[in-house]
């Protein structure tokens, strides 16, 4: 579904991604872990071209999205993204947050979009918040709304950029629960996170990144139980 070839990215003099090759298949739940500054967020953000790679090619569902001729706006409709800072639109109500893109892009009529939004809100138990504004919500609620805002576009893959890092500890669970539900429904997911429990439970594959490379990858059981790379051993000893 996503094929990444020799991805490179520098910020100034700093080499953030140093040649990444990876293939993500439909239905996979890939969790990316690694120390801060290892390039994992940049890697994720390259997948929907929020960061434009300096070198390398990314294929999504057969389209070369790093090709300048590809209309990235069409591609992004099929790639939902969830941010660390939620990035809900504070001037719009929850309902408008969810329905804005589907309506303005002409994917759904206003009625269809509202219908879909109500279904999604009901699913996360926040139907009563449809007319609330984002700053009336808790962090966990905001992030769950941000997730269903992405789902309202019916994406083929969901990208999560440290979705629980900005949350109070007691709110992490509700967000992870929703992500696990998505995973169980077969959504293809790429998740950058520090939540190792989530990685163990949900991931079909865990990638460990360090200094702009994927230095080790395996199933979660193998990766956490039998790490081989010294950097991974060191990383795991610090966080587990």
């Amino acid at each position: 579904m996503i094929v990444i070839e020799n991805l490179k990215k520098t910020f100034g003099d700093h080499l953030v991604l140093n040649g990444i090759n990876e293939t993500i298949k439909k239905g996979e739940k890939v969790v990316v872990i690694g120390p801060s500054g290892s390039g994992k967020s940049t890697f994720l953000r390259c997948l929907n071209l929020l960061e434009v790679p300096d070198e390398g090619t990314i294929w999504f569902e057969g389209n070369n999205i790093t090709d300048k001729k590809t209309d990235i706006n069409i591609i992004r409709r099929k790639m939902g993204m969830v941010f660390q800072q939620f990035n809900l639109f504070p001037h719009l109500s929850v309902m408008e947050n969810i329905t804005l893109a589907p309506i303005k892009l002409g994917i759904m009529t206003k009625e269809e979009a509202r219908q879909k939004a109500f279904e999604l809100l009901a699913r996360i138990g926040l139907s009563d918040k449809a007319d609330a504004y984002p700053n009336q919500l808790s962090g966990g609620q905001k992030q769950r709304i941000a997730i269903i805002r992405a789902l309202a576009m019916n994406p083929d893959v969901m990208l999560f950029d440290e979705p629980t890092s900005a949350l109070d500890p007691e709110m992490v669970g509700e967000v992870l629960d929703l992500m696990m539900q998505l995973a169980n429904e077969g959504m293809t997911m790429v998740v950058v996170t520090h939540e190792m429990r989530f990685a163990k439970k949900v991931a079909t594959r865990v990638l460990f990144m360090d200094e702009g490379r994927i230095v080790e990858q395996n199933t979660p059981d193998e990766l956490f139980e039998n790490p081989t790379h010294p950097r991974l051993k060191e990383f795991l000893s610090k966080i587990l």
Binding site: M79, Q85, F89, L100, A101, L105, M153
Partner: protein, 236 residues
Amino acid sequence: MNIVTDWFVEIYKSFYRAIVPDRRYLAYLNGVKVTLLISFFAILLGIAIGIIVAVVKVTAKESRMKWLMGICDLYITVIRGTPLMVQLLIIYNLIFTSRNTSEIAVGAICFGINSGAYVAEIIRAGIDSIDKGQMEAGRSLGLNYIQTMRLIIMPQAIKNILPALGNEFITLIKETSVASVIAVTEVTKAAQYIGSRTYDVLPPLIIAAACYLIMVVGLSKLLGKIERRMARSDRN
């Protein structure tokens, strides 16, 4: 006691002379109308120019359109670096040389071009004040750059800069008094004209000042209302 009474009678008479005979009040009303017309169209033009210049400056920062940014910078530098009255005279004499151009239109265009430079800087600051994540969130949903700007960034930016914009518009209304140098009969010019007829310059000028005050207070009230309405999403 008598002196004080006489003084008040004298003041009353001067103001009476400045307002009533020859239906002079109509001259003020006309002046107010012209002032409002110039201000209104200048504000519209200023906002239009301001938005375009601001968006170009913000956009050009991260793309190849460096030359466009140069033009915008030049425009802002020249407008902000030269006096409004000189700009007005230059535009009036140089560009609109034909005799049958409407002075009001010239005034509105000139003040609009002038205001645009200030509005552009205000809007640019407003756009910069919006978190980068908002643009990313919009783009990640498949909205293009312009849609994201229009639907997500601008509404928030304008809410943030409304007080600063209000100041700019208030300044603009007052600065239209300069338009008298290109023979536009707005309030100030009307007052001067009446003063020259009654040989008593002060009362008409005070009346003109009152007219400006009323217009500015009216605008402030209007802006306050809009600000409160836009603050809807801020309630907790």
